[in-house]
Symmetry: C2
Subunit: 203 residues, 2 copies
DNA sequence: CGTGATACTATACGTCCGTTCAGTAAGAGA
DNA sequence: TCTCTTACTGAACGGACGTATAGTATCACG
């Protein structure tokens, strides 16, 4: 369970913060916001109770750090190099891959969304990150639309993000009802009508 | 704020339960799961602390009651009579109407999803309700697909539900970024390719 | 006009929450 | 080797949590 590399080792601020964020994510993945508590997180990280305040100031600030970290990793994952396929194809594949489309990861997102909706600090963080996310998808989309097309890639990207979010909800709540292939098909059902025919994968 | 129709009136079990469920929904709509507490709910309802245990046994059971109620009302709303339009058209309209597509209602759903993902009792309740929900949409869809079409309406209904869920997340987290018209357009973008051309509304 | 059933109140209880803070010890620089 | 900074510990705090329960008051029924 608990990773205890050495008994009394002092870590750099960055390393210790990362370790606490990891532990916080593990707790959230396990039981949502109810597991996001000081006691659970420090037990997971194998440190003392005072350390969260020392490094983050408050639980709210740790929550923001976790959110920021999740978004950063998510965008990095969908921006990963694509081997001999279109950017959009590899992007969709990554989104429905076990790395992102797992109950654990999605439970963290679902939990964070519930907090964003009710936490002004988190919402401010969200605003900036969402823009970056949408732009990444819009860029991939722009490469795949037929030349001279009049569609607004930002709008399509927004709708696509909504679908991906909804697929995530479904997958998190009832994983067996939504296999990876079905999710991928749903993605292309939304995207294909806007694309040049040669870039549409088989349905 | 608090609805206090009479000072010491004794209500029927059904009425009092409904009143407590209303109060619980109001709290959830206001601040998610963090407002779903005994103190907040009884204050909202204007009753004493013991009443939740008396009528529901525990907070967990109240949560299940709230979930059941939300789903019942949601399905009733999308099943409402449609005046001179196809069932599918009026269904989509209701889904993006202020009655359902409001920050308050969606905040309750978002909160409940987070709980379903981590609460076995709620998940069992969800399973039955979701089936009913999907069947309602599949029925409306079946009326709109071209005769002899080979599409699987259940699959399309599932994908559509995911999109609606995702639109709800987006709308709840950042209402201004997703106006009703955009949401409606996203719905039809997913549905239209499967429909007979004469039933597609203008984009 | 009693009288029993029970909707409802109000208090008390133990647990867990996030934060504070005085104290400890590790490790870099001298 | 000494010293100073600070990462880190762990106990203590006040408050909020859900639940249990003894007591009160209301209404149906006789």
């Amino acid at each position: 369970m608990t990773v205890a590399p050495s008994k009394k080792a002092r870590l750099s601020v960055a390393d210790r913060r990362a370790l606490l964020e990891d532990a916080a994510c593990a707790c959230m993945a396990r039981g949502g916001i109810r597991e996001f508590t000081v006691d659970k997180i420090v037990a997971e990280a194998g440190v003392s109770r005072g350390l969260i305040t020392h490094h983050f100031g408050s639980m709210d600030m740790l929550l923001v750090a976790v959110y920021s970290r999740m978004y950063r990793e998510w965008i990095a994952a969908i921006s990963a190099p694509h081997h001999g396929r279109t950017r959009l194809e590899s992007l969709v594949d990554v989104l429905v891959s076990p790395a992102l489309f797992s109950r654990e990861v999605l439970n963290i997102w679902l939990t964070l969304w519930g907090e964003i909706a009710n936490n002004p600090v988190l919402r401010a963080e969200h605003r900036a990150r969402y823009r970056e996310y949408r732009d990444t998808i819009a860029a991939a989309l722009r490469e795949a639309v037929p030349p001279g097309s009049s569609i607004d890639v930002d709008t399509v990207a927004s709708a696509f993000i909504c679908l991906v979010d909804g697929l995530g909800v479904q997958r998190c709540v009832e994983p067996d009802l939504l296999p990876e292939a079905t999710a991928r098909a749903a993605c292309w059902a939304l995207l294909s009508p806007h694309l040049a025919s040669e870039v549409r994968p088989v349905g």
